[in-house]
C-alpha cells in the first residue's frame, strides 16, 4: 500500500515552521527519498517524463540529472528563504525559483550537449511542471534547515534518477532484443507496472 501520509497537496498554512525538533534525521531522509516515499513508485509523481523519456538509458540519465539539479537548487533556495515565505507569496516564489532553475539548466544543456538537448526537446522545460519539485519545496524545504533540505533533494532526485534509468534499461534492453513494444509508450507503462509489483512484493 503506498505511503500516502506525506501528502503533496499544498496546506493552508498561515506561516512556516522552522523548528529543528521536527527535522527528520539524515538517514531517514535518504531511505524515504530512495525507497519509502520514492517520487516515481510511491508518490507516482513525474510520470510524464518518466514514461516519455525512458526509451533509452542515455536520455533517461540526462533528464534525471536535470531534474536532480533542479531539485537541489530549488530545495536549497526555498530553504534559504523559508523565513520570508508567506501564504500569499509562497507558491509564486516556488514557481519563480523552479522556472529560473529549469531555464538555466535548459540553456546550459543546449551549450554543453546540443545533440542531447535536441533529443530531449520540450521535456527539459517540462521539468517545471514536475509535481515532485514543488512538492518537496512545500513539504520539506519550506520547513527544514538547508542541510536537511539538500539531503532531501539528493534523496528524492536520486530515487527518481535511478527509477528512470531502471525503466530506461529495461525498455532499451527489451527493445534491442526484439520486443519492439518496449520502445513505444505502452512499453513504459508495462515496465513501470512491473517495477511497482516488484517493489510491493519486496515491501511485504
Amino acid at each position: 500500500m503506498p505511503n500516502l501520509q506525506t501528502s503533496t497537496t499544498a496546506n493552508a498554512d498561515s506561516g512556516t515552521q522552522t523548528s529543528t525538533a521536527d527535522t527528520p534525521h539524515g538517514l531517514n531522509i535518504w531511505v524515504d527519498g530512495l525507497w519509502r516515499n520514492n517520487a516515481g513508485t510511491v508518490q507516482l509523481l513525474g510520470l510524464c517524463p518518466l514514461l516519455a523519456v525512458s526509451n533509452s538509458v542515455a536520455n533517461a540519465f540526462v533528464l534525471g540529472l536535470a531534474t536532480l539539479a533542479t531539485l537541489l537548487v530549488s530545495n536549497l533556495l526555498v530553504s534559504l528563504i523559508r523565513d520570508r515565505l508567506q501564504a500569499q507569496n509562497r507558491i509564486l516564489l516556488y514557481v519563480l525559483i523552479i522556472a529560473t532553475t529549469v531555464t538555466i539548466v535548459d540553456i546550459v544543456l543546449q551549450a554543453l550537449m546540443p545533440a542531447m538537448h535536441m533529443t530531449l526537446g520540450l521535456f527539459i522545460p517540462l521539468i517545471v511542471t514536475n509535481c515532485m519539485i514543488v512538492g518537496r519545496a512545500e513539504i520539506f524545504a519550506s520547513r527544514n534547515p538547508m542541510s536537511a533540505s539538500v539531503i532531501d533533494a539528493l534523496a528524492t532526485g536520486l530515487g527518481f534518477l535511478i527509477l528512470l534509468c531502471l525503466i530506461g534499461g529495461i525498455r532499451e534492453f527489451a527493445g534491442v532484443n526484439g520486443l519492439l513494444i518496449a520502445l513505444l509508450p505502452p512499453g513504459a507503462f508495462f515496465a513501470l507496472a512491473l517495477i511497482l509489483v516488484a517493489k510491493n512484493l519486496i515491501d511485504k
Binding site: 509564486l92 540553456i107 546540443p114
Partner: protein, 197 residues
C-alpha cells in the same frame, strides 16, 4: 483577527530581479557555445540536403538574402567548378502547431527538390515531431518533387485533398510543412537566376 503580515511584494520583486539577472547572465555566457553548435548543425543539415549532388564550394559561406512571403530568407548556393548546381533555401514557417519551424529546402537545376531537413521546431513530441528525419522518414517524401511533377491541388496533406500523409493526431504540423515547401518552390521559380548572383 490575524496580525497584519508584511507585504509579499518586496520579496517577490527582489527574487524576481535576481532571477532575471541570473538567467540573462547565463544566456549571454552560453551564446558562443550555442552559436557554434547551431552552425555545426546547419552544416550537417546542408550536407544532408545535398545528398546526391556534387559540389565543391563552402555552401554555408555562399549565401544571399531575398524576400519572400515568409519574410527575408537566406539562400545558400552550391557550385561545382564555379557553375551553380543547386540552391538551398532556409525558410521559417509560423503555421506549425507551436512556434516557428525552421527548415532547409534544397532545389537542383531541374527545379526538383533534393531534400528537406528541419533545423529547429517546437512541435509536440510524439506527434508533430515526426517531421524530424530522426523520428520518421516522412520528410523524404519531398525528394525529387517539383511544381511540374505535382499539381497545386496535390501539394496538400491527404486530408485537404493532396497526396502527403498527415500524422495520426497531428495534421497542423505536416500541413504547415507541405505549405512552406510549396511556397519555396514557387519562390524559387519566380526568383530565376537572381539567386546565383
Amino acid at each position: 483577527m490575524t496580525s497584519q503580515p508584511t507585504s509579499p511584494v518586496p520579496t517577490v520583486a527582489l527574487l524576481g530581479t535576481i532571477c532575471t539577472i541570473l538567467v540573462a547572465t547565463v544566456w549571454v555566457l552560453a551564446q558562443p557555445a550555442i552559436q557554434r553548435a547551431q552552425a555545426q548543425h546547419l552544416e550537417q543539415q546542408l550536407t544532408e540536403v545535398m545528398a546526391g549532388i556534387r559540389f565543391d564550394n563552402n555552401i554555408s559561406r555562399d549565401s544571399i538574402r531575398i524576400d519572400s512571403i515568409h519574410g527575408p530568407i537566406t539562400v545558400y548556393r552550391a557550385r561545382q567548378n564555379g557553375d551553380p548546381v543547386a540552391t538551398i533555401y532556409e525558410a521559417t514557417t509560423m503555421r506549425g502547431y507551436s512556434g516557428a519551424i525552421r527548415l532547409l529546402v534544397g532545389i537542383d537545376r531541374d527545379h526538383e527538390i533534393t531534400g528537406v531537413r528541419i533545423l529547429s521546431h517546437r512541435e509536440t513530441p510524439g506527434l508533430g515531431d515526426s517531421i524530424e528525419i530522426s523520428k520518421s522518414d516522412w520528410i523524404t517524401g519531398f525528394n525529387s518533387l517539383s511544381l511540374d511533377k505535382l499539381t497545386s491541388e496535390n501539394w496538400q496533406v491527404k486530408k485537404d485533398g493532396g497526396q502527403f500523409d498527415q500524422f495520426t493526431g497531428a495534421t497542423i504540423t505536416p500541413r504547415a510543412m507541405v505549405n512552406v515547401v510549396h511556397d519555396i518552390l514557387k519562390r524559387h521559380r519566380s526568383a530565376g537566376d537572381v539567386v546565383f548572383q
